[in-house]
Symmetry: C2
Subunit: 149 residues, 2 copies
Amino acid sequence: MAVVAAELHDAVEVRLADDDQRYTSGRRALVELLAVAHRPLTVAEVLERADGLTQSSVYRNLSLLEHAGVVHRVVTEDEFARFELAEDLTGHHHHHLVCSSCGTVDDFTLDASLEEALDDALASAASTVGFEVRQHRLDLVGTCRRCRR
Amino acid sequence: MAVVAAELHDAVEVRLADDDQRYTSGRRALVELLAVAHRPLTVAEVLERADGLTQSSVYRNLSLLEHAGVVHRVVTEDEFARFELAEDLTGHHHHHLVCSSCGTVDDFTLDASLEEALDDALASAASTVGFEVRQHRLDLVGTCRRCRR
DNA sequence: ATTTATGCAAATCGTTTGCAAACCT
DNA sequence: AGGTTTGCAAACGATTTGCATAAAT
């Protein structure tokens, strides 16, 4: 009853193996959940959507998956950490729309050519101060459609 | 013995007054500290640099200053919130270099023309999904000069 | 059989808050 | 005096961790 492509799980399994970790059913359930949500989820949201998952194991496994490069942690001004699949697993580079009214974080993408220009400009600006860029994070903070009216 | 321009304090006082708040000496000390640090500071860093400031008042006043639009809260992957003066007070739009090794957050600026192109592209991309952008946040995550070697 | 993962409950730690004393105006 | 701010210590809450049991190899 896989909702997600088998290749995703294969790739996850490889990354976990590289980190000497097993791909247990709880971890698989987390990956499934994050794959079908099209936005980063909080631990509370994960627990609502899954049963059989326990809070401490969710925290532990999300950290472990993060360490293995499977999952990425998203932080915003609010008090909850959010988690999404790593971009290089989904092949889907994206940014976030952070609603300062309800806290929800949604994904969105930027035009590829602008993205490229941005990347180049960032890398060169950073190198002048001796900083080596591994990743950029571009979030838009504002008001989402549902909170607009 | 003002280390910072008097106009800054005047502007802060106005914003606080608009929010029915007084500009007390503790709050003034916070503004002074944030003005001379050229990067966002954690509460621990604030307490190291100032004496006469107490932890709970620092937290309380930073929140209050944030509410009045004087101070901006910066969150990163690590466990500490950081604070800086609001950009429209300093007149200095900037971004952050977040070192994933030591956690330090430094300021840096982007070429004005790129910044403008980015702003336009972001606003139009966001509007297609009904999101109203108030602010963008662009952080570079990587390794700072000191952690490089 | 030995190692690793899980679930529960307790601990951790940055941050928030209640309350009484100090400070303005 | 009347209202606000401060300092201290206690409370809070998201996350982490210790430990005993269950699962995997």
